[in-house]
Every structure is written in structure tokens, then in C-alpha cells.
């Protein structure tokens, strides 16, 4: 069944677009991430800190806990043009956004 799912994925995923996001010292870097609208992409969130972080966005319908020192992938999109806020659920003052153009 999983093979059927992968075989039916869009050409955009076959040539995977990947972006990186780092969380450390209470900040996301970059705090604004520009991505291409209309294309599904992989976002790798790396936690360079010493405590867990959680990438979360209601607008993107995504949440993922990233242990300290680890990197976790998320698959997002395709997105319509616009801004999509996200935050760290362990430190909700730490916020950023993905801007799709």
C-alpha cells in the first residue's frame, strides 16, 4: 500500500526541494523562510539547543517535537502564496514564518 502511495506522488516530490531551519537559544534561524508557492517541500528542523523544541503551525497543520541535538523532517505544501506563522510549543515566544511566493 505504501508503494502505491509513493508511486502516485507528484513530480515535485520526486525532485525533492529541501529547506533547513535551526532552533537555538530561543530563536529560529531564519525567522522568515522563503519558499516557492505551489511546490511540496521538505523542511529539516535542527535543534542545536540542550532542551527539546517543537515546530508547530496551525496554519500549516504541522507539529513535530525535535529532541535536543536532533534534526527532524517535515513535509509541507504545496502552499498557496502567503505567510504561514509557526512557533516553538516549548517556548511560545519563539516564532517565525514561512512565506510562500
Amino acid at each position: 500500500m505504501l508503494a502505491a502511495f509513493t508511486a502516485s506522488t507528484s513530480p515535485a516530490l520526486a525532485q525533492e526541494t529541501t529547506y533547513s531551519l535551526t532552533v537555538q537559544n530561543g530563536k529560529f534561524e531564519p525567522s522568515t523562510l522563503a519558499v516557492k508557492a505551489g511546490v511540496k517541500f521538505k523542511l529539516v528542523v535542527s535543534n542545536k539547543g540542550t532542551t527539546p523544541a517543537e515546530f508547530e503551525s496551525s496554519e500549516l497543520n504541522r507539529e513535530k517535537v525535535v529532541p535536543a541535538g536532533a534534526s527532524m523532517p517535515l513535509y509541507i505544501g504545496p502552499l498557496a502564496p502567503g505567510a504561514y506563522p509557526f512557533f516553538d510549543d516549548f517556548d511560545q515566544k519563539n516564532r517565525g514564518q514561512i512565506v510562500a511566493k
Partner: protein, 258 residues
Amino acid sequence: MRTGARAVLRGKMLVFAAVIGVAGPLNANAEFKVRYPNIDESEVEIEHNYSTTFDSRSQNNGRQSSPTEIGMGVLPFWFVELEGEFSKEPGNKWSFDATTFENYFMLTEPGKYWLDFSIFAEYSAAAHSSEPDGVKIGGLFQKQDMKWLHTLNLYWEKEVGPNASTADGFQYAWQTRYLLDPLFQPGVEIYGQIDDLNHPGPFSEQQFRAGPMFAGSYGLGDILGKGKLKYEVGYLFGATTATEQGTLRTRLELEIPF
């Protein structure tokens, strides 16, 4: 909307959701909820559901249920919940019906494939030894298309143990929601039930209800430092003679990452 007015609105909606969420006793067993296939490891969730029916037929008016459950992401692909189920038939008192152990097995990474998919499996132990236990197994499917979120649940259920029915039950639920804003996401949903797949009977003898819903979440960073409160409210119109004419359902969930 100005920042101050937005904060006031957020606060009022939070109070409204809390009131709706505790409209009934803190008990268990509202089946009118759509389950989502994507789980969160390292999160604890406390959830309260409630439903009540409205019907001109007195025997169907005021049928209530109110399950409460606590769950946790054990592994990246496995989420477990323990639920206490309570219900109240029209004219009767509230009763404790069962203790239920639920499992979600996430088989696809959210968004990686065309469809998100999880397997759901639960065992419900009846509160009274003369009543049968229950098994429910099913699939949870979700597809996101830009800001539209579509979710489908399909379940097979069976009674086991003393006085168990021989019927194979089937339940289905569908929800389409628009991701408008974290606080307010409107949508529509459908719930259907066939008591015996081997003898489904005409559609008029099956349960089927549909109606609008809305959902949202509120960050608790300022109060608890982390976590969020989620709510859902829906009103379902019965579409067959076997279904109550109206059903109000609510869901209130506290999520805390650890």
C-alpha cells in the same frame, strides 16, 4: 482588528470553549468525533467530549454521552489513550459504561505521500460483567489541499464476551475543514453507522447525520509556559428516521508537550 481587540476576542473564545467543553459531567463516550491520523510523540493530551440530542420523539430527546480520556505519544508512530465512557439515556441517570484503551498507529509521515494514513484499534471493557466488551478497528485518512483539510474515518466494530451480538458494525465519519485561522476553522462533517453489515437494511434504517462545525486552538504559553487548548463544536442534523433530529457535540482538549 487592532491588537487589543484581538486579545479580548481570544480571551472570550477561550472562556466560551471552556464552558461548552464542561457542559456535562466529566465522563466518557461521545462517538461524534473525527479522529486525525497524525500523532504527536512526546505530548500528553487530556480530552473531554460531550454530545446531546434533540428530537421531537421523547425517547430520543436528551440522549447524552461524555467521554473523557488521557493520552500520550509513546513512540513516533504510536499514540495511546485511556478513556472512561459515560452516557445518559432520556429519563435515566448518568451511567458509567466502559473503560476503553485506544491505539493510533501512524503509518505515513504527515504530508510526505498523497494521503496520510493511520490504523486505529480500541478495546472497550464494559463496566458491568453481564454486558459485552467491544472491539473497534479502522483506518484514519487525511488529505490536505492548500488550506483545505479533509479527514475520513472508517471503522469495523464487534461485540465480544457475554451477551455479545453477532453483528458486524460499521461506522464512518468525514470532515472537511478550512484552515482559516488558529482560533477559528469552519467546516462540515458527516457521521454514519450501520448496525449490522450483513443486514444493512434500507438507508432510512441506518444512522446518518451531517452538519457544520468549527474548531480552533489557543496557545497556553502565557499561562503554562507551553501547550495549547483545542476546541471543536458541531451541530449535526439527522437525515434518517433512525437518527435523532439534532445532535450537539463538543470537544475540548489540553495538549502539553514534554
